[in-house]
Symmetry: none
Subunit: 193 residues, 4 copies
C-alpha cells in the first residue's frame, strides 16, 4: 500500500463530502474538490474515472458505513437500555457527520446517481430494526409499524442534528436524555392515559 495514495484518496473523499455540505451538489465542481483536497484537478482522474464514479463511490461508502459498528456488546443489557444506546450512538453519529447526511440526501436526488446505488438499501439500521421488533414482541414498545417508529426516531434525530449545526444548538448529555425520553414516551407501551 502506498500511504501517499491512500491519503489523496481520503482527501478527495473528505473534500467531496464536506464541500457538498457547503455548496450543495449543484455547486460541486471538480476544480473545487481538487482545491479543497489540495491537489490538482487532473489528479482526481488518477483515482476515479469521472465525476459520476467519484460521487457514487463516496455514496456507496457512506451508505455501507455501519453507524453501529462502534457499539460494543449490548445484547445482555435490558432492552430499554439497548435502545437508548442505539439511539445515542445514532444521534452522535448524525451530529458528528451531518456533512455525510447532507451528501447522501443531495446525491440521492441528483442525476449522477447510478442505478445500482438507486436501489441500495440503507442497512446500517437493521440492528435498530431488530431490536425494535424484539421490544414489540416483549410488549415494551407499542406494536407500531417500524417505518413509522423509525421515521419518528430518524426524522427527529436528523432534524435536530441539522438544527444543531445550523444554529449551534446545545447537544449536552441532558439534551440527549431529554430527546431520547421523548422518543421513548412516543413509542413505549403503557402511557396509561
Amino acid at each position: 500500500m502506498r500511504t501517499k495514495d491512500e491519503n489523496k484518496l481520503m482527501a478527495i473523499f473528505d473534500a467531496t463530502v464536506s464541500l457538498t455540505a457547503k455548496v450543495g451538489i449543484a455547486g460541486l465542481k471538480m476544480s473545487l474538490i481538487a482545491k479543497e483536497a489540495e491537489i490538482a484537478a487532473g489528479t482526481i482522474y488518477l483515482y476515479y474515472k469521472n465525476k459520476k464514479d467519484l460521487l457514487n463511490a463516496v455514496y456507496t461508502n457512506l451508505k455501507s458505513e455501519g453507524i453501529f459498528s462502534v457499539i460494543g456488546k449490548i445484547e445482555h443489557l435490558p432492552i430499554q437500555v439497548q435502545l437508548f444506546r442505539l439511539w445515542e450512538v445514532a444521534f452522535e453519529y448524525h451530529v458528528a457527520n451531518i456533512n455525510k447526511s447532507v451528501f447522501i440526501e443531495q446525491f440521492e436526488l441528483s442525476p449522477m446517481i447510478s442505478s445500482e446505488n438507486k436501489v441500495m438499501e440503507e442497512d446500517s439500521m437493521s440492528y435498530l430494526h431488530k431490536t425494535l421488533e424484539e421490544a414489540k414482541k416483549r410488549g415494551i414498545v407499542k406494536p407500531i409499524d417500524n417505518h413509522i417508529i423509525m421515521s419518528l426516531i430518524l426524522g427527529f434525530m436528523k432534524h435536530l442534528a441539522a438544527q444543531a449545526t445550523k444554529d449551534s444548538l446545545d447537544t449536552s448529555e441532558d439534551v440527549k436524555h431529554l430527546c431520547y425520553s421523548m422518543c421513548w414516551n412516543a413509542i413505549r407501551e403503557n402511557n396509561n392515559e
Copy 2:
C-alpha cells in the same frame, strides 16, 4: 396581440418545483423547465431575469406560503384539539407538497440562493410556535425548548411524508391519529412514568 398569460407564470413555477423533486437541483435545466411547462425556453426570460432569479422567486414564494392559512378559527377549541388540527394540516400539506419541501431543501444549499433568501426565516410555523407556548404555560405540554419540540414534530412529519411518497406508505386517518398520538405522548406533561 397575445395577452401576457398568467398561467405561464404558474406553469413555470410548478414545473420548477416538480422537476427539482424529480431530477434534483443539479439536474435542473432551463430547457427542462420549459419543456415541463410546455413553453419555449426563451419564454421563461419574459417572466424572470435569469435562472437564479427564477429559483429565488420560487423559493421566496414557497417560504412565505402560509401552511396554516387554510385553517379556520380554532382558538375556541381545547388546546389539545388545536394542536391536533395544526399537526394534521401540516402533515397533509407535507404529504401533498413534498415537492415543495424537496425544492426548499435542495435550493437552500445551492449556490444560486440569494443572500436575502439565505437569511429568510420561515414564519409559517409561528402559529404552531405560539400554540405550543400557550400549552406549556398551561402545564399541558412539558416545558421543553420549542426548537426540540418542533424538531420532533417536523422531523417526524417530513421524514414520514418523504417515506410516504417514496414507498407509497398508507396515510389514512388512522395513521394520522397514531402519529399524532406519538407526538403527543412525547411532549405532553404527566406521562406518569
Copy 3:
C-alpha cells in the same frame, strides 16, 4: 399615399440612424429601434422584410442622398468660389448629419451589408470630383490624384465634424473659412515656396 405609413417609415428610418450613432451597430436591436420609433417591434416587419433589409434600405437611401442637391446654380461662379461653396455645403451636411456618417461607417463593416450595397459607389461626390478636375486642368489646383485631394478634404471634414459633435466644438463662419483656407492652401497651385 397613406400619410400614416409614410410617417412610420420615416420614424423607423430616423430611429435606425440615430440609434446607431448612439449604441453602435452592435447594439442596434430591433426592439430598440421600435421603441425609438415609438411603435411595436412587430410593426417594423410590416415595412421591412427583416433587419438586414431595413439596414440595407437605410444605407442605400443615405448613399444616394445627394449632398449637393441643395446647392443652386454655381457653374457661372469663379472656380475657387465654386469649390468653397461645395466645401461649405459638404461640411454643413456632415456637421448636421454625423449620425448618418456614423451609420454608414458602422454599417459598411457589418455582416449585414448586402453584396449589392458592398459595391455601391458613393456618387454624391461626383460633382466635387468634376469641379476638382476642371480646376486642375486650369492650373488653379495642383495636379494631385483626386483620391488624395478628396481624402484630405473629406478626412478633415469628417474628423472635424465628429469632434464638433463629441466636444461641441465651435463651427462658426470664421472656423469654416479658416478650415477651407487650410484645404485650399494644401491643394492650390503656386504656394511659391
Copy 4:
C-alpha cells in the same frame, strides 16, 4: 503540465483586432476569434473573464500603445523636419495598422465599452501636440487651434490609410512627401497669398 502560453494571449489579441476589421464589431463572435487564433473557444476564458473584458483590454492596450515610441531622438532637428518625421511615423503606423484604427472606431461606439474606457484619453498624440505648440510659438505654423490642425492631419491620414487598404492605393515615398507637403502648406505661416 502545459505551461500557460503567452503566445495565446497575443493570438487572441491579434485575432480580435483583425477580425473586427474584417467583420465589424457586430460580427465579432467569440467562436470566430477562437478559430482565428487557432485555439478552442473555452481557452479565451482562461485569459479574459468575458467578451466585454477581452474587448476592453484590447482597446486599452491599443490606446496606450505609443505611436511615437519607435521614434528616435529628433529634438535637435529643425522643427519642420521634426514635424515631417512625426507625420511620417504616424502615417506609416496608420497604414500598417488600419485594423487597429478600425477596431478603435468600432469599439468606441459599441455597447461593450466600459465606462473607464469611455473617458480614456488618447495620449499618444501629446508628442505631436507639443511640437505643434512649439512651432506656433516660433511663428513657423499658423496660430490655429490644435483641434483643427490635428483634425486635418489625422483625418486626412486615417482617410488615406483606409483608402490605401481598401483600394490598395500606392503609398510610396513620393506619395508620403506629397501628402505631408499638403499638410504643411495648410498650416505653415507665410503662404504669401
